[in-house]
Amino acid sequence: MPAAPPKPKVEVARLPGDEGDVLALMGRLTVARAATLEADLVQAMAGDAGPVTLDLAGVERMDTVGAWIIHKTLRDNPGTRLANASEQASRLLAEVSAADRLCAVRPELDPFWQRELTKLGLYLVQFAQTVLAGLGFIGGTIAGAWRAATSRRGVRWNAVLVQVEQTGVNALGIIGLMSFLIGIVLAQQGAVQLRQFGAEVFVVNLVGRATFRELGILLTAIMVAGRSASAFAAQIGSMKLAEEVDAMRTIGLDPVQVLVLPRVIGLIVVMPFLAFYASVLSVVGGGLYCWLALDIPPAAFVERLREVVPLSDFWIGQSKAPVFGAIIAIIGCFQGFQVSGNAESVGLRTTLAVVQAIFLVIVLDAVFAVFYSALGFN
């Protein structure tokens, strides 16, 4: 055989031999050169039908991909022989020919319309199941509350306090900042419109009524849904994955009483305070804007606020807070308990918790608006 070239690469040389042609392979038969090697071999094998011998004497290094291509050539061209294969090469060839099975890379898919219909059907079934399971969960929570109230152990007030701290006290900064800025934006946008009628002083009505009745509580609920519904779903979900929930049951602890009730009670307690706090900071923001941009001094602002905002607005806003708190907490815990299988499902359920909590908060807010309007509070 000729000496190996200085820069080794695959070369397929065809030499006439006594018993048919000899294909001499040289250089490295590795994955790095697999594409050219395969093409070269196919080309060299094509043409005449005489028996061919593959001579591996010049091969420096062979890996499984190189062996696979040799194996394929032998398999697809019956009568082809192999010569001068090193012990290592023979071993590799044996290994890959034993593994000669083609497998699908991706799962088979149904036709497009069938897939879409299946998706729609699955979605509807899932929707119905979620609604039913959610109603069941609300029932289970109420039953758990009853059991807690009548049991010797009672409600776990320490856990409730922890939740009040995490969902309420720790949220003060972000909710305060958000409300303050919303107050400023509301006053500024209102002033731009009302200035056209020379009625800038009505900015106070706008800020005062909108915040206490609607925006303070609604925005707080959305922020809490984003912060706490997700946290509840992730906490309970990862506990469920780690079999902590099952461990609780075996010790005789009721997961509803230990995990769900403290969160629900905590949010019911904390939401009215957060809503009030948010409304006040919103009004402060609006008042600041009025003072700096519209020259309405704080004393006049407060005076006017007391004239135009009926106390009923405050109570309407406050009455919604515990309901929103309960629904956010229940959705978060519910989705946490729906976690199963793997860590991916925690992420999915956390997202669902936030989306559903915000959606339900807005739906309930609309219901409240219609309800209180019908009662004559305008």
Binding site: V31, A34, A35, E38, W68, E95, V96, C103, V105, G341
Partner: protein
């Protein structure tokens, strides 16, 4: 069996760790750790929980920058390479992480193709054939190819991860507790698989394990991490004879004796998984 040359000083080690020190805050994990791994050998790394076996592996494959010391793989210092040089180096090794670390959004076959697609431009048909025979080589049924990792059992996940680690035909294979969490039959079969592949593909294997059966069955040498460094590095028969309390307790405790006895019953190599498992 092993291709350790009689005079190993003339041969360059594949992995050379010298004076390695790893510390996390006040906690010192390694201090003055030296280790050489010779080409073609299967080296088992043992040590108590928290002794830094995985940290050692992460230091060698460049995921963990050591506080001091040098790590050379194939004669190149791992820490201090730029992006392209590191990519050239990483494609020469395959890593099997403890949990498999398969990409969950891809099927098994696609997982195997990820490194191939990243480094080489191969025809689609050849790529599919390669993933097919790699999947068969690690002993998975071909039905596993189009499945997603979440649909596989623990043992199948490990095999699929091994197929991905072997996708580029590396010369060096890192295995982090390959048999942990497998039943004894599957673990013994996995041992044989590693030995067979290592022999056929002339692999050097760096194997972290707690499995005494694995150590007895397939390791050419065993390195023991204790007291923040490698306290012994020898074939297991010599190791058992060493007079170090931790080593004695590890290999001569009830489980160590059982594993050694099982090996004697099963023959000198791991070709009898069922006897070993019994």
């Amino acid at each position: 069996m092993p291709q350790i040359p009689p005079d190993s000083h003339t041969i360059e080690p594949v992995i050379r760790v010298h004076g390695l020190e790893n510390r996390f805050g006040d906690q010192v994990v390694h201090e003055g750790l030296d280790l050489d791994v010779m080409p073609g050998e299967i080296i088992g790394i043992v040590g108590g929980s928290g002794s830094g076996k995985s940290v050692l592996m992460r230091s060698i494959i460049g995921l963990q920058r050591p506080s001091s010391g040098t790590v050379e793989v194939f004669g190149q210092a791992v820490h201090g390479l730029d992006g392209d040089e590191m990519a050239d180096l990483t494609r020469q090794w395959g890593v099997l992480f403890q949990g498999g670390a398969l990409f969950s959004g891809l099927t098994v076959a696609e997982n195997v193709q990820v490194p191939l697609k990243e480094y080489y431009r191969l025809p689609e048909a050849l790529m599919d054939e390669i993933s097919g025979f790699k999947i068969s080589m690690v002993g998975l049924p071909i039905e596993a190819g189009p499945k997603y990792p979440s649909e596989l059992s623990g043992g199948m996940k490990k095999r699929a991860a091994l197929a991905r680690a072997l996708a580029l035909d590396p010369r060096l294979l890192f295995l982090d507790e390959p048999t942990a969490g497998l039943d004894p039959i599957a673990a013994a079969a996995f041992d044989i698989l590693i030995r067979t592949l290592a022999d056929a593909m002339q692999l050097t294997v760096f194997l972290i394990t707690h499995d005494l059966d694995t150590l007895h069955a397939i390791c050419d040498r065993v390195a023991v991490i204790a007291d923040k460094r490698i306290i012994a590095n020898a074939p297991i028969a010599e190791l058992v004879a060493l007079d170090h309390p931790w080593i004695q307790e590890y290999f001569s405790g009830p489980r160590g004796r059982a594993a050694a006895a099982g090996l004697d019953r099963g023959g000198t190599d791991a070709t009898h998984p069922f006897e070993k498992a019994g």
